[in-house]
Symmetry: C2
Subunit: 249 residues, 2 copies
């Protein structure tokens, strides 16, 4: 039987999961996705994500690929999967891709949004998807600090302590701010991200906003290339993987 | 000790509750609110809502009043309550009101929003707060049907079957449509609402949108003053009590 390479775009709410990657003794997105595919194909199908998301992190544009027999029409796959998956994991799109396509190795970049809830009290609709910060933040200082981050830089100061990644240079194309009522969205687009980089930059920007880190300290903090000099790590639930970019196929 | 009359504006996600009103053997908003007040005042405090919301229905602008001793500064009450209440019930505002104020008897009108998710697949962020309808709806027909509803009318056809309310005339000031990406919000403002009126009108409009009820049948359906002639009841989770209106005090 012939095999196809499939690409899925999927969304999930991370609240109740221990991240994307399969683990012993903890429920993950990957496990549920592979179990659902097993129900359809009657064999184990391994999925490859564009990036692992951590426990509690959400996605609206995660991409996975997997190889599977060709007997299910690709346009039927999203509905078939969604009828098996729990309501907090949603397959939006399925397509056929060349055999050589790999969701992670072929990714040219990603977009994450980190959402802050700046209201005095949390917005009911956003409490699972935004970090509530009830203290006044100086947004102008935060925007100034963000400008220092943009570009091709060594982000070692924003890599999670203990990470083994050696090449810590990444190009941050965009770090922009947009507000909708009390929700402030920080949009990050880069050719790649170090482990916890978005949450560490966000935590540092929030520390600038509340006066714990001076704007003038940011260039030196990047220069140190040492996690201990940057600000706190923003909590997982404000983070969402929005998009993964590929070259046209 | 002197007693004050307090007014709270509160939000809650109805997903995990059996509605507002206290019940035996089922968890309700009222029970949790009264339990939280008991922790603060060391006595039972009865709260009076502007309106009971049903099981699964949300609120962003529910109003309650209650009489309690005057020893807690009113500005401290929201934070004190929120520290006790679960995260899906949020007190946004507390104020002192005249002794004669009653959240239900003094209400001059209310605003509800019913949200529909018209995407092929549910929007991850809105799945708890919008009714997902993946079939194509004729919005122009729905808007035409909505026009028949606006004004001072007998809404008996949209009252839940078995309701005992005798006076079924209400004035619907507004029934408007607004879209944000795949979420369509139907905003209802009226001097009052019959039991399940918003969900029954919404279900009927959706039936018009998918061609199960003809637009031309709407006037006769209102004339019948009989629930059996209208459309289905929209599910609870799309409904949210947004605002309660009072005369200036």
């Amino acid at each position: 039987m012939a095999t196809n390479n499939y690409k899925f775009i999927l969304a999930y709410e991370g609240t109740n999961y221990h991240g994307f990657q399969i683990q012993n003794n903890a429920l993950t997105i990957q496990e549920l996705l592979e179990n659902a595919l097993q129900k359809i194909y009657k064999q184990h199908i391994r999925v490859h994500p564009a990036g692992r998301t951590d426990r509690g992190v959400h996605a609206r544009g995660q991409v996975v690929n997997f190889k599977a027999p060709d007997y299910v029409p690709v346009n039927n796959l999203p509905a078939a999967l969604n009828s098996i998956l729990p309501a907090d994991i949603i397959v939006y799109n399925a397509s056929l891709v060349p055999d050589s396509f790999h969701a992670r190795f072929n990714a040219k970049g990603k977009c994450y949004i980190y959402r802050l809830d700046l209201g005095a009290y949390p917005d009911l609709f956003w409490r699972r998807f935004a970090w509530h910060i009830p203290v006044k933040l100086d947004l102008e200082q935060m925007k100034e600090a963000a400008i220092y981050m943009i570009g091709r830089r060594d982000f070692a100061s924003f890599q999670a302590a203990g990470s083994s990644t050696k090449d810590t240079v990444r190009e941050l194309y965009e770090l922009s701010f947009s507000s909708n009522n009390q929700i402030l969205s920080l949009t990050f687009k880069a050719d790649g991200f170090l482990y916890k980089m978005v949450r560490n930059i966000t935590g540092t920007l929030v520390d600038v906003g509340r006066g714990r880190i001076q704007l003038s300290a940011i260039p030196a903090l990047l220069e140190k290339k040492d996690r201990r000099y940057a600000g706190l790590t923003a909590p997982a639930h404000g983070l969402c993987l929005e998009n993964v970019y590929y070259n046209p196929m």
